[in-house]
């Protein structure tokens, strides 16, 4: 990878847009919704300038279906939206996963359900990691905590999408989207322009035609398709990523992701200064979930507390990871409020003092 040197001071939303362009994005389809509007705004000027296509579609549904077309041609494509808009895109996401089409989808999670508010929330965790559309499928989900990580993970997202022929979601929130931080931009050394050469639709002259589809009617064909998908999802589990902070001698491990993860880190720093043995485990890949590493920590006898900006979603994956050994406490900071490090002190101390 080549670093470009110059440090930018930009919002998380802009970091995502710039990262995608650095990763060779060629087609962006979107529709405005707060708090991710900086992404289409940036794309509308920057993507055509590097020879890409920017389309503001007539709706979220249209934008997501345009992705199917671009991804089927092996083109690096992306859409972004925020919670209610992502719900509208779910049908297309199911089709993308069913047809094994690589693309990147950004969800800057806002408050829900329904229209909710425009503030930060982690209420879309289930929708992101468990599907959201119909059918048995998985989407790779990456959750950045800083603007730099947002930039880096979008580049990684495109590689993963093409490696597994699967949609990849970047899951952020209004905090990440609206916060400005220094970002060191970089461009991957090699972007394979010929990605998907053995499956993409590019005209069948001189060879047998290809079909990309999610409809399997003949006897046994859907089962065979599912077996293939299942194996693919199992392969994805080989890579997981997390940040571990002050965990070695921690009695209590706090599990938190994204913006909440970094806010909890501030709380932990303060509690450490006061002599409390607490550490942070911040999953960066939400699917695949870093279950194996959590289980190892459970085997060391650590206690767990999951903190989320919702009513309790990731805590189910934490519990599944450690279920044969122990359990996890849960503290849900209610969506509709803006969390600060102070808000997590009491719940962490309570879990630390518990049995």
């Amino acid at each position: 990878m080549s670093k470009n040197g110059e440090k930018l001071f930009i919002k998380g939303n802009e970091a995502i847009a710039r990262g995608a362009i650095a990763a060779g994005l060629k087609c962006y389809f979107g529709y405005p919704i707060t708090p991710q509007n900086d992404i289409p705004e940036y794309m509308s000027a920057a993507l055509p300038a590097v020879g890409g296509e920017f389309v503001q579609a007539e709706s979220e549904v249209a934008a997501a279906n345009m992705l199917i077309g671009a991804a089927a041609c092996g083109v690096r494509s992306m859409t972004s939206s925020s919670s209610p808009g992502i719900s509208l895109k779910q049908e297309a996401i199911s089709y993308l996963a069913g047809s094994q089409l690589p693309t990147v989808i950004v969800n800057m999670n806002r408050g829900g359900p329904g229209l909710g508010d425009i503030g930060p929330s982690q209420g879309d965790y289930f929708q992101a990691v468990k599907g959201g559309g119909h059918g048995d499928y998985r989407v790779l989900v990456l959750a950045p905590g800083t603007c730099q990580e947002a930039y880096d993970l979008v580049i990684k997202a495109f590689d993963l999408a093409f490696k597994y022929r699967n949609p990849v979601m970047i899951l952020g929130d209004a905090i990440l989207g609206q916060m400005k931080e220094p970002v060191s931009p970089w461009t991957p050394e090699k972007i394979d322009e010929n990605e998907g050469h053995d499956w993409r639709l590019c005209g069948a002259k001189g060879r047998k035609g290809r079909i990309l589809k999610s409809l399997f009617l003949s006897e046994g064909s859907l089962a065979a398709h599912h077996e293939h998908l299942q194996n693919k999802y199992a392969d994805m589990a080989e890579f997981t990523q997390q940040e571990e902070y002050q965990i070695d001698d921690a009695e209590l491990v706090v599990v938190a992701y994204g913006s909440i993860g970094r806010i909890v880190k501030s709380t932990i720093k303060k509690l450490r200064n006061n002599g409390h043995k607490v550490g942070l485990f911040r999953p960066i890949t939400l699917y695949p979930f870093p279950s194996g590493d959590l289980k190892k920590l459970a085997e060391q006898g650590k206690k767990f507390l999951t903190i989320e900006h919702n009513l309790g979603q990731m805590v189910e994956d934490v519990r599944l990871s450690i279920r044969t050994i122990t359990d996890s406490d849960f503290f849900g900071f209610l969506p509709g409020n803006l969390p600060t490090p102070d808000d997590f002190e009491e719940p962490i101390l309570k879990s630390l003092g518990g049995k």
């Binding site: 001071f9 503030g119 931080e181």
Partner: protein, 181 residues
């Protein structure tokens, strides 16, 4: 003790609090610090004040959102009412005394600097630069970075359309700094 400060900058819409928040963060970055800037987001924004939180630190920054800040720049009365009670004991605040009654300002629990920002800006010929006066005072009072780092960052946060105003903004920053002994 490594360098660290967090600050809430608040005023009413149009006073340029987001601009000086950006400027402070940008200058911090140029001075080699880690920085975060976040405009108020969510329910808080419906309270009559525009505000942002800026964190500057030698160490990696966890939370960009702070409930009890080390410092405050209050550009109008609602900002003082809302944030002064939250200011940490021993914290510092820059008070725009052109618009805020000094009787309301705490002096025992926290260190307060009364800066008649609008009056000073008026004397410089442009009342819209009250924000720069306040930031200049903050830079001097906090000592977190040099004023020159802030002045050098002006072209990075002021749009090209207003670039002719950069020298005047620099003057306002200096005038603010001069109010702090």
């Amino acid at each position: 003790m490594s360098k660290y400060i967090d600050s809430i900058i608040a005023g009413f819409g149009g006073q340029g609090v987001m601009l000086i928040g950006n400027l402070l963060a940008y200058a911090g970055m140029n001075a080699g610090l880690n920085v975060t800037y976040i405009p108020v987001y969510g329910p808080e924004m419906r309270g009559g004040t525009a505000n942002c939180t800026v964190v500057l630190s030698e160490e990696e920054i966890g939370s960009p959102i702070i409930r009890s800040p080390h410092s405050l720049i209050a550009m109008n009365r609602p900002s003082l009412d809302k944030f002064q009670p939250r200011l940490m004991d021993g914290g510092i605040q820059i008070i725009n005394s052109s618009l805020i009654d000094k009787e309301l300002v705490e002096t025992e629990r926290v260190k307060s600097y009364l800066v008649p920002a609008n009056d000073i800006a008026d004397k410089l010929g442009n009342s819209r630069m009250a924000n720069m006066v306040a930031l200049g005072a903050f830079i001097k009072a906090s000592g977190i970075i040099d004023l020159t780092a802030v002045i050098e960052s002006l072209p990075n946060v002021i749009s090209a359309h207003y670039s002719h105003l950069i020298p005047k903004n620099a003057e306002a920053l200096q005038a603010g700094a001069n109010t702090v002994a």
